[in-house]
């Protein structure tokens, strides 16, 4: 029952994020554009590039979608409304998101095309930049909650949301999340206007539809994770829990898209430098600060 509800909510969320992304990219709000472009993609020819690595080419988009759905599985929509309330939920989210890298390298390597390959390898560099900034802020969140279960993490924020308790962690996590979902300004693997689509360059028709759907699922998963870890999940007055989760998730996704549409693309070298020199230092300081606060204040 709860599985069906969450899958339905995810589908609606993906559609909403697609509408928002169209708004952010093209500057026009169209409620039907995602549906028409999905239909158009299904109607288009599916071309298999010559001398491609068929296995990697086919598995890439599917693995990306699986990674996205598995990370959604541990995000609670409301108390009890979660696909699997794993005791190691936060760690499982990390593990699932690690496959985003694998899938994109496969999608880049598979078609034997130069642009796809460059996009895939760029994402490897991007991964080394964002990976630590996903796991380190989550550690600080788990320190406060004394648990890795996502439900417990939400409950631990009853007195004060983590965005106020550990604002540094929030900022780092959101920027890293934009890296995972290759949202602008950190959209190195696709790099519109630069790489002719990058990893998407050789994908056509239904395969491209699956690849884009997978990316939407990942954006929703990361916005949901931000809400779960930092914005108090389903907690909120007056409205029922699931409405709060849905509203907050859409707000975070809209915020990430709006931020991206206003910034120039970051080079991989610059992103690595910023993440390791500034980001890691701040993340360690965040863990230390949260450690001191958690010992002094009982909330």
């Amino acid at each position: 029952m709860s599985i069906a509800v969450i899958i339905l909510a995810l589908a609606i969320g993906c559609y909403a994020v697609a509408v928002l992304e169209g708004w952010a990219v093209h500057g026009r709000l169209s409620l039907t554009r995602p549906a028409t472009s999905a239909l158009a993609l299904l109607g288009r020819e599916q071309i298999l590039p010559r001398t491609s690595d068929r296995l990697f080419f086919e598995v890439g988009p599917v693995l990306l979608l699986v990674a996205g759905l598995l990370s959604v599985a541990v995000i609670p929509l409301a108390p009890g409304l979660i696909i699997t309330d794993l005791a190691i939920g936060a760690l499982f989210l990390n593990a699932a998101l690690a496959y985003v890298l694998v899938a994109l390298i496969m999608a880049g390597w598979g078609p034997n095309g130069a642009y796809g390959m460059v996009g895939g390898w760029r994402f490897l560099g991007q991964f080394i930049a964002y990976a630590m900034l996903i796991v380190m802020p989550i550690t600080a969140v788990a320190m406060r909650a004394e648990s890795l279960s996502t439900t417990q993490i939400v409950l631990s924020q009853a007195a004060l949301w983590n965005i106020a308790y550990q604002p540094i962690g929030f900022v780092l996590f959101v920027i890293a999340a934009m890296g995972v979902a290759w949202l602008p300004p950190i959209d190195l693997p696709t790099g519109g206007g630069d790489l002719a689509g990058g990893v998407e360059a050789e994908y056509t028709g239904a395969r491209l539809a699956v690849l884009r759907l997978a990316r939407l699922v990942i954006i929703v998963a990361l916005a949901g994770a931000t809400v779960t870890f930092y914005l108090g999940g389903w907690l909120g007055p007056w409205l029922p829990g699931w409405v709060w989760t849905a509203l907050k998730t859409l707000a975070v996704a809209a915020g990430m898209l709006a931020l991206g549409s206003r910034l120039p693309r970051l080079r991989e070298a610059k992103y690595l430098e910023l993440s390791w020199k500034l980001g890691i230092t701040l993340a360690l300081a965040n863990i230390f600060l949260v450690g001191v606060i958690a010992l002094v204040v009982p909330i």
Partner: protein
């Protein structure tokens, strides 16, 4: 729900996703197939075959970061169990991990001073 049931659900979710993708592909195939035309399957390089082969070795210019990343990623494996019992253990946990993280951070600073944190 027992742990085993939860992982069975996750496996089912994975298989269901694969099924969804296969049915999307089947739908697309039912609509029509690609017409075989010459040069249609050339990868995106302005209509000509790529001058150079693509599957070759690439210089990972961020290898300095990559090596540090390995050290930090291993450290995270210790951090998660520590984070869960942190409040129980109290000050001892803070000091223990503080020493560990300080050593690791010194390693990062050393790598930085030796020029590991730049594109080679």
């Amino acid at each position: 729900m027992s742990e085993l049931t939860q992982y069975a659900i996750l496996l089912g979710l994975t298989l269901g996703t694969v099924g969804l993708v296969l049915s999307i592909y089947a739908l697309a195939r039912a609509i029509g197939r690609a017409r075989a035309e010459p040069a249609k399957d050339v990868p995106a390089t302005a209509g000509t075959l790529a001058r150079d082969p693509v599957w070759v070795r690439y210089h990972a210019k961020y290898y300095g970061y990559a090596l540090l990343f390995l050290a930090f990623d291993m450290e995270m494996a210790f951090m998660y169990p520590w984070a869960v019992v942190y409040r129980e253990e109290g000050l001892v946990a803070l000091l223990d991990m503080g020493v560990f993280l300080a050593i690791l951070f010194l390693g990062l600073l050393y790598g930085w001073s030796q020029g590991a944190l730049r594109r080679q």
